[in-house]
Symmetry: C2
Subunit: 380 residues, 2 copies
């Protein structure tokens, strides 16, 4: 179980299959985020229809509500949310560190107040792993410290803590978990500093995790810094383990990440943008509140095969967004996820065909050519 089968490589870009107890995950893959045991506004049958093979759920949120013990008593997260395919849970670390004044970190763990009711809780590496055992996701993550990536001394200290915690997570998983049922991934830290990244990779690969995340990115550094970090970090990781870039999911970042050898991505972007009335297309983002769409009988994207584009006009979608109708959230979420999941499948096919470089260049050229909003520079 949890074998990563590498099928083809095109430059650094890789196509493979990651085998899990809930089925195979063809990579590269994008995982929609189901923070509270639901990908917002999506039914599982719709996610299946879109070809979703992996979703992410949040340990912090589910620990607080409805509680991981309750989910365990009801048969685990897959059964609870009626999702039969693979799930990945984060460690809760990122969420508790994001609480700012509501949390206090020490070498043993983090004490924090719930954003729901102010109640006091404590997460340690052991506790995070125990919660993730209760949830029962196929892939679980080490509890790590994720600092801002640019201050060397802060990043160095976070690396040390992350490494000590990784060891404790591995020990707890060996003690109380089932490595045949749940794969534990290590998280590489080191900010934008090549020597710290190299040291973090060395420490974690010595521990022999089932997969590796590149952590501490998409948290304040520039896009060039993020991609440069991937350029030198990813090649240091073992080729026979999946590589996961956490919290990244714009179309341009997915293309650039795959080009640098990343296999797994997750991000709230497609679902969150939809709830804010924005659509992702192959020619950039559309703000559906814009008057320009008021009488436009065209679909969001010509040629798109999703339910939204094959049935509804931009004019109708604009009406739903302006009228704050739930169907607007649903239809935009469906389209945005369809685009990202299709993009991942197309990249995978191109890697298998040996045409990835041309595919990626063409996609990025079209994507930045006519975006309604200014795009960040789209490096390949």
């Amino acid at each position: 179980m949890f074998e990563f089968e590498l099928q083809a490589q095109s430059g650094q870009a890789r196509a493979g299959v990651f085998h899990t107890p809930h089925g195979p995950i063809p990579t590269p893959v994008f995982a929609p985020v189901g923070t509270q045991a639901t990908v917002k506004a999506m039914q599982p049958r719709e996610l299946y229809e879109l070809g979703t093979t992996l979703i992410l759920a949040n340990t912090y949120h589910l620990y607080l509500r409805p509680g991981d013990a309750l989910i365990a008593r009801l048969g685990g997260l897959h059964r609870f949310m009626a999702w039969e395919r693979p799930i990945l849970t984060d460690s809760g670390g990122f969420q508790v560190f994001s609480l700012g004044a509501l949390r206090r970190i020490d070498d043993d763990g983090v004490t924090f107040r719930s954003h729901l009711d102010g109640s006091v809780h404590r997460l340690t590496p052991e506790k995070s792993i125990q919660i993730q055992h209760n949830l029962g996701a196929d892939v679980i993550m080490c509890f790590d410290e994720c600092p801002k990536p640019n201050e060397r001394e802060v990043v160095r200290a976070a690396c040390e803590r992350t490494h000590a915690w990784a060891l404790r997570c591995l020990e707890e998983h060996a003690r109380s978990g089932d490595p045949e049922r749940q794969a534990l991934f290590g998280i590489v830290q080191g900010g934008i500093f090549p020597d710290l990244r190299a040291a973090s990779v060395r420490f974690l690969t010595d521990l022999n995790f089932a997969g590796y995340a590149i952590g501490g990115l998409a948290v304040g550094e520039t896009k060039r810094e993020m991609l440069a970090t991937l350029d030198y970090t990813v090649p240091m990781l073992p080729a026979d383990r999946p590589r996961y870039l956490m919290g990244v999911g714009s179309p341009e970042d997915l293309v650039n990440g795959v080009a640098r050898g990343v296999d797994i991505f997750d991000c709230v972007l497609p679902t969150r943008m939809a709830r804010h009335g924005a659509a992702l297309t192959r020619r950039g983002r559309l703000n559906m509140r814009n008057l320009a769409h008021a009488e436009d009988s065209a679909p969001l994207e010509a040629g798109c095969t999703c339910y939204t584009c094959t049935h509804f006009s931009r004019a109708y979608l604009r009406h739903l967004v302006k009228a704050d109708e739930l169907l607007g959230h649903q239809l935009l979420t469906l389209h945005n996820l369809h685009l990202l999941l299709t993009l991942m499948r197309e990249m995978r096919a191109a890697i298998l065909n040996g045409t990835f470089e041309a595919y990626a260049a063409d996609f990025l050229a079209a994507y930045c050519s006519t975006s309604e909003e200014a795009s960040a520079p789209l490096i390949l």
Copy 2:
């Protein structure tokens, strides 16, 4: 077109088929409400799957946003909302009268302020019909005055105005409409007064409408008054035209309405209750926020074949409702509509079988036996 084919009768209860340009409507029928050109939280394909054959849309809301002229330019309401089956639009009258201090009525029409931006508008019988022509629904309604039903003098005056306006609606429809494409229904007023109801029926049936609504009910009278009014009003209506009870849709009201010869119903109840976290079942209503459901692995309703009940537990639905997740609205809406549409199909089958009386008595007995909330008396 617009033939009403009476297939069977069981006491006053009728089974039939109402033929429209967008297909046949087997009756009795419940129409989910799509106020703003969307049944809240439902995709058209989901409504088809539930067996929905008729939906209602609101003239007032669509006139204000996105505008009926815009919808006409985009090919009409069916195409705008991608709904290929029959639609009924109300006249806008009920909504503008509900604006209270924001509207002023005279014999020619109603001047009102938009609830969206305070802008001033005017609806007359002619204008209402013109808007409904632009929307293009299969069934359109006369612009009427709907007063509180208990004050005789107020009700009598409203009847006079409603009758004068009915004539003007009919003339406008003959002048600028297409009676082969859109059927105009008259609305019987008269509150809880048998002689006023009789006079209203006489006036309107002389005008020979394609169908008749029983208006002015479910607006403040008791349930017994409402049913008594149906008892003497419905039999006065012509047998060869469909009869529509506006704004009524609780399970017990549907059974009692069908038993009294009503063919068509609409109501926001199933969709609105869902958004407030409540489920309709054959044993009464469930408030999904209740702690009692927190660890309940059972579905909302044992034996229910809807997507919600065949996939999700009460515990999960409670979690979604407590966490304010959109999927909770979707899954509860789907179940609530499934129950009402199934109830209508079962009543229709029972009328065709000659077993309606027993079916209705059994349904009501089960419905009021174990309701989580106190139910109103369930008369048959």
